[in-house]
Symmetry: C2
């Protein structure tokens, strides 16, 4: 195995596969269709690990990502992003061989699609269950009904139900707080079904955030789940109360390029174009990552005081405890757990497994 | 020209060329060598515009970027990042045909390089003139002298002087505050020269931040400049007091995918993987960009109230003034000026010129 010479995103295959298996089992146990979101890993190889756990339908966040996974043999893909009607040509091409479910949240999109679609698509309406990002709230029942009616009249669109990403679960700070969000979300799903079933019969509801899907118990009213981040987890998920550090499947190996004994800091190659500028408060310090070491087959934090304190384009500055500082010299590698694995993975483009194998991502080979 | 169907980074060639010409003229007027930093644009085509202004030597932030520009004919390249000795094989390959200047800030790097270098390199020592990121301070004179002596004894290393990136100029909020930083930085350059000239003769000092290079007056003690961001500028540079909105050469065209009249918000395709999560406070709101429109041959802000208020991986939410909100419908494009053009450009990978031409970047074709 070649030594690591530059910033490298390490992927612990065993942890990732365990995370996948746990979520697949939970879906089965709760009678839920499992349509994992591929936006976190963006990798056909990780997709195969999902396939080995019985996954047949997947979720993505863009037409481009749908094209990539369709090219890797996936035939049932939900594009969990409000339909961008300007991409109609790519949607028409994609739907020639692939069953695609779009998120259609407004009448304008229905009108354009009705006119321009060359193949049939499925459609979810997106429900805003509290995140305040996109979709209609269940209070807007008249608007929802009008949209369903319009979708049902569009001959190339097969309306199948609702999709929601309860992103507000990311404000939780414990498993109990996630459960509270989860209960409010699933309650909205049941209310929606109750209010619409007499007029529109049965339909499917899919929810998509990792915190509720990982920690939530009780899925009455929900038919399918599409979490994404759970394959890798990250420090944000630890902070939310959603996983342990030992569940994190990715870490950055960064060369130490300078040391500053007078301020107990290390300069590393590993900046905003590698980690992303997503940060979180850890012990009142803005942190872009925490330093870790390999223990058995997982990563453990060195301590709470050794953290990535600032990033510029390619530079990272690691603030260290005295003990930690003394462990590193120029030319060493330091391992940093990322705050938000989705954005870090997107920037890095490839993964290196423990045996040195490189896994490609969408951006690296497509 | 094909219509824009998805998130696209627009580049106004005229503004970019004017920014380049202005900086090249300023360097000439002040008798400074002009070694522009390529990290902002990362594009051979924009490099050609610099070449057309007499540029022969350039600055980059990684070995990879040096390889890219070397492959596009550049023969004098400074890698303005503390030398990562793990990349010695790539450095040896690169220096076969290209004159490379490394930043060598510690004795360990000299030792490794002395043993492993196959070709001669030039070397700067990095000086921390106040940013607190990397390099030695001029107070550490004994350490600096010892490092110079060690560099001078290394047969494959030709020590040529000092490099500094006064990144603390980014804390300025007016042209006057930038000038204050600039004066303190150039004063340190002169002190360094005074203290070392009797022992080490003459050497070169290069400084590299866009604010000081754009706004600073009086460069006594400085021999070369290597600003990068000035080719595009961005909202952060406007906030620093370093340029006008009309000097910004790049903007994001984003499809509007949903509208929320009850909260005067637009959902756009354009998220953290397009803009980066770099934000700034504008009117006390955390902002990831400001909405703009084309006026004659530049962009103007719609108003101060129409801004990119939140980003997730692919979603952006634009908070609008009432007037602005009414101008947009689902299917339209909205133009957003980025907070930090370097990070946005790095994520986008290509530029679209006004005539529809696509310019590639390092990440898109290398």
């Amino acid at each position: 195995m070649n030594p690591i010479t530059e910033v490298t995103l390490l992927l612990n295959e065993d942890i990732c596969k365990a995370n996948i298996q746990r979520m697949a089992q939970k879906a089965r146990r709760n009678g839920l269709a499992f349509k994992p979101h591929m936006k976190t890993h963006q990798s056909a190889a990780v997709g195969d690990w999902l396939r080995n756990n019985g996954v047949e339908a997947i979720t993505v966040s863009s037409v481009k990502m749908a094209e990539y996974f369709a090219a890797h043999g996936w035939r049932d893909i939900t594009i969990a992003f409000p339909c961008n009607v300007r991409q109609i040509d790519r949607i028409n091409k994609l739907t020639e061989k692939t069953t695609v479910t779009l998120l259609i949240n407004n009448l304008h999109a229905v009108e354009v699609l009705q006119k321009e679609l060359e193949n049939t698509v499925k459609a979810y309406i997106e429900i805003d269950t509290g995140s305040g990002r996109t979709g209609l709230s269940i209070q807007q029942l008249a608007k929802i009904k009008k949209l369903i009616q319009k979708l049902q009249r569009a001959s190339s669109i097969n309306w199948i139900g609702f999709y929601s990403h309860p992103g507000h679960s990311y404000s939780a700070r414990s498993s109990q707080e996630i459960q509270t969000v989860h209960e409010l979300v699933t309650e909205q799903c049941r209310i929606l079904a109750d209010k619409l079933k007499s007029e529109f019969g049965t339909f499917e509801i899919c929810i998509g955030d990792t915190p509720c899907c990982s920690q939530g118990t009780g899925f009455e009213g929900v038919d399918a789940i599409s979490p994404g981040n759970f394959v890798f987890y990250d420090l944000m998920q630890v902070q939310i109360g959603n996983c342990q550090v030992s569940d994190i499947a990715v870490a950055m190996a960064c060369p130490v390029v300078d040391t500053y004994p007078e301020r107990l800091e290390l300069a590393i190659h590993g900046g905003a174009i590698h980690f992303s500028k997503e940060s979180m408060l850890i012990d009142n310090n803005e942190s872009f990552g925490l330093a870790a070491f390999q223990k058995e087959n997982h990563w453990e934090l060195i301590d709470n005081k050794t953290y990535l304190k600032s990033l510029s384009q390619e530079h990272g500055i690691v603030s260290c405890s005295k003990d930690a500082f003394e462990q590193f010299q120029v030319g060493d590698l330091i391992t940093i757990l990322p705050v938000h694995s989705c954005l870090t993975a997107n920037l890095m483009g490839t993964y290196q497994l423990s045996d040195g194998t490189i896994l490609n991502q969408m951006s690296s080979n497509y």
